[in-house]
Amino acid sequence: MRTEELVSLLARGTEAVDPRWLARRYLIALSAGTAIATLLMSAWLGVRPTLLRDLSVPMFWAKEAFCAALGAAGLLAVARLARPGRRPGWVPMAVAAPVVAMWLLAAVALLTADPRDRSVLIFGQTAGVCPFRIALISTPLFVGIFWAIRGLAPTRLRLAGAAGGFAAGSLGALVYSLHCPELAAPFLGIWYVLGIAIPTAVGAWAGPRLLRW
């Protein structure tokens, strides 16, 4: 087939592209992913009974804001990297800012605490399981977000995969935070970040394998 014929073939009878297609795909991926992750969390671990009481604790909101800001940064990164020719731009800053803020909070908490309390602030009661639970709960989000990216055309596959994993991990952490009783900044700055790093690494590994087109 000559190139001219291919051009005619592709152009003939072409239909308008629905500009809302993209938003719809992201919406499906995120709502399904979040719903399944929430179900998984409540069936497996359960929403923490003290959740209502925690609503009046400032650190609870700092934790929610931390996860939500990371999730938003991750989704922005995905939105850019899933299309050809968009550069990451200021996305690395948006990813780093909540982490740096949490580390500052953690430094203040550790410096002002009684030295004997410091290990509790760092390890809490669930340090050993927290990262793995976050990684597991983020799995449905990971699948959803990768499905959404596969409908687009990422050209930097490793980076796009990492962004997808990061977004899934952050939103997974947000879901997990409804179970997790830990509220200390040092704990969140270490174990939550580690929990989000797991799907990020998996995404960076899977990107070149699953996102090719």
Binding site: M1, T3, V7, R12, G13, T14, E15, W21, T155, R212
Partner: protein, 212 residues
């Protein structure tokens, strides 16, 4: 400068601009900006459903892609036309990923670079990459309307597609029938016809990727 005038018909506007102002970098850039604006208008028309604007877009784009690739595949000249066709198919299949706020150069360049690197990786002949691939300004500055013979025959690949994809593509995209006529002729529903065309063209791109 690697401009060639088109052998048949009037050369695309872009190559005309570039040829008359050959050697002057500022004017070449200006030419590329004009091409950018023109191609963007045509693509936006195409995305809104104007098939003649879309045809003009793909036709102009193929000349730019050809010139761009000829310069970069000097050691693999026989690959150029195949890659032009692969890129046109990719641009078409991914046209929903174009963000109207984005320069078209950046979008096309990213697709071209991705497929070019992919090709070279498959050939594992990275040394044939002549230019460093970081100058996207170059993409619309040159144009080459002289198509070589493609080695891969898309018509043959098309014939191998499953019937539910092949028939809608043949009737709609080659014979130019409408969705309704194609549906009547094949006994498929209208939405199945549209899905068939869409999936078929994606499957075609996947076949190209796996065979080479």
């Amino acid at each position: 400068m690697a401009q060639h005038a088109g052998s048949s018909g009037p050369p695309p506007i872009s190559s005309h601009v570039a040829v008359t102002e050959c050697g002057d970098v500022t004017n070449t850039r200006k030419g590329a900006r004009l091409v950018e604006a023109r191609l963007r208008g045509l693509l936006l028309g195409g995305l809104a459903g104007d098939s003649s604007a879309y045809h003009a877009f793909l036709k102009d784009l193929s000349a730019h892609l050809r010139a761009f690739l000829r310069k970069r595949l000097v050691n693999l000249p026989e690959e150029v036309e195949d890659l032009v066709q692969e890129l046109l198919l990719a641009v078409h299949n991914q046209r929903h990923t174009y963000d109207p706020r984005q320069p078209i150069t950046a979008w096309v360049y990213a697709i071209a670079r991705y497929k070019l690197v992919d090709l070279l990786r498959r050939r594992s002949r990275k040394e044939s990459l002549n230019d460093p691939l970081d100058e996207e300004d170059d993409l619309l500055a040159t144009s080459d309307g002289e198509a070589a013979e493609a080695r891969r025959d898309l018509a043959k690949l098309l014939a191998d597609l499953p019937e539910r994809q092949r028939a809608p593509i043949i009737h709609m995209k080659i014979e130019g029938l409408s969705v309704a006529e194609t549906a009547r002729l094949t006994g498929m529903s209208q939405s199945a016809v549209k899905v068939g065309v869409h999936r078929g063209l994606k499957a075609l791109a996947a076949k190209i990727r796996s065979e080479s």
